[in-house]
Amino acid sequence: MRKSISEINQRIRDGNARVVTAEEMPGIVAELGEDAALKEVDVVTTGTFGAMCSSGAFLNFGHAEPPIRMERIWLNDVEAYGGLAAVDTYIGATQQSETRGEEYGGAHVLEDLVAGKAVELRASSRGTDCYPRRTIATELLLEHLNQAVMCNPRNAYQRYNAAINTTDRTLHTYMGMLLPNSGNISFSGAGILNPISNDPKLRLIGSGVPIFLCGAPGMVIGEGTQHSSAGGFGTLMVTGDLKQMSQDYLRAATMTGYGVTLYVGLGIPLPVIDKEVVRATAVRDEDINVDLIDYGIPSRNRPALRKVTYAELRSGMVTVNGEEIRTSSLSSFNRARKVAEALKDWVVAGKMELSLPTRKINPKHQVHPMHETVRGPRVADIMDKNIVTIGEREEIRTAALKLLKGSTNHLPVVNENSELVGIVTTFDISKAVANPGKAELVRDIMKKKVIVTTPEEPVDIAVRKLEQNNISALPVVDPERHVVAMLTAIDLGKLFGGRWLK
């Protein structure tokens, strides 16, 4: 048996359509079986509410008198794109205020507009014959704009890897705050309610399909940026009218130490046209896996500690290496439910009819990493290979002499196998000399916890290590922990005027 989309729409118009949320569907299928569920259910509504950084809106201000061709544009001191001619702009959610930093950004401008608050527009131009005006400043309400069209390049991620942090320092990431020593797990995503998870082959979701976007009726434009449904990480590009949106489903947010983002509520109604749809929408949190990724590793290829399901993540506790670790969601399951419920009400009330994609999204697409033609600088390019080390059993006096001779303030300490075991600085030695008699050997005063780098490490990563630990030198070690060089703040100077910064 199959149901056509026009049959389903006729039932919606007649007020006879049976609409359920994606959370209700697994139970219905388990109870009735697939055939009866196909007969019984016409529409399954999905919903998600979470941080969707890649969001923003096109705005048209109308012409001023005398007219201006805006080249640089700010809304409440948040810069918006000025390359769309005269009086159009695109404001991106993550752009930060030039005066208030990460506390206010593009997302807040969007929320303020939706909340009915006035927003200050400032713009400048070089002035042309047809657009003589050079500056403008005015206060605008959403209703003053001709168009305000939300257009989000990458929304509704199918699922999202969970995050953990095995380092001994708190991390501030787009996955929120990650406590040190695997102190917590952070995750995102609506799992059972997620639109693409209920249509993983993208048979129903594609260009032209109607959606719920932040409380307004909207539409799928097509595949989102970074779309990678081959690996289970599909995304969507979506649009909707900002003027009809509600603050209940559109919220600005700040991830401390990371930046501004926008929480977007998005739902898609799925027409139940055949048994395959029934099967796909019966998906449960238990069936959706993600990797648990260690964000302590500053690389694109972070290792996965294990696989976890949304059911485990949502239970509040996940076991990793025998230890129970608390989980936190960044997205709101409560609001995702509200999105799916609101969408259900729309369809039941006949406010939204369904359609199949006018153009399909490739379900097998795979995202590629960036093609980089210029390799960024590595530690090996600038490190100082003239190294002086000291044995752990040598006298402090010897260390002092070595420091005096060399031009460094740091002495890596090695054991009999030449492996790095500690570090002493001029400060440690002065302290030892000022309190004589307490210690005699280098190993008594050395710092045993040494932060190190490797020749292959990108300089940017090494620089963050220096900054975060408030230190000025890093021993460069090989895989056997032999010290092969030192990287100091002075070496970083080589980056300027050299071949890396042109």
Partner: protein, 128 residues
């Protein structure tokens, strides 16, 4: 009732908390303490009816004592019920009810401030 006690640790200063326990006979539970070589801050819990007694004693010993009527302040209209705060709090102040709405048990709060940083929506603030 919770008291926030701050004190400097000059030479020859007596251990303020221990002294207050001895002099007043009130049992004091230390919930959180950060003490370094020059200064200290401690959050203590004392029975409501003896709160003033302890405060006066500690003040006379040179500490600055503030009575905390509130735990962390929760602005419900900013909260979206994400739960980012839940795993951050060392005292299990936050949890979800059956409908995934946030419950705040602020009487357990020790005002460490971690959740303020963790909340993406500015829904949590420290009492002034």
């Amino acid at each position: 009732m919770k008291l926030l006690v701050t004190f400097s640790k000059g030479k020859g200063r007596k251990p303020i908390i221990a002294q207050a326990v001895r002099d007043t006979g009130v049992l004091i539970a230390v919930e959180r303490a950060v003490i370094d070589s020059s200064a200290g801050e401690a959050l203590i819990e004392v029975p409501d009816d003896q709160c003033r007694l302890v405060r006066d004693k500690m003040s006379s010993l040179g500490a600055n004592v503030r009575i905390l009527d509130h735990g962390i302040l929760f602005n419900e209209s900013e909260c979206v019920d994400c739960g980012a705060c839940i795993s951050i709090c060392p005292r299990d102040v936050f949890s979800f009810d059956a409908t995934f709405r946030l419950i705040v048990a602020d009487e357990r709060c020790i005002l460490c401030g971690k959740c303020v940083e963790a909340c993406p929506h500015d829904a949590l603030t420290m009492p002034a």
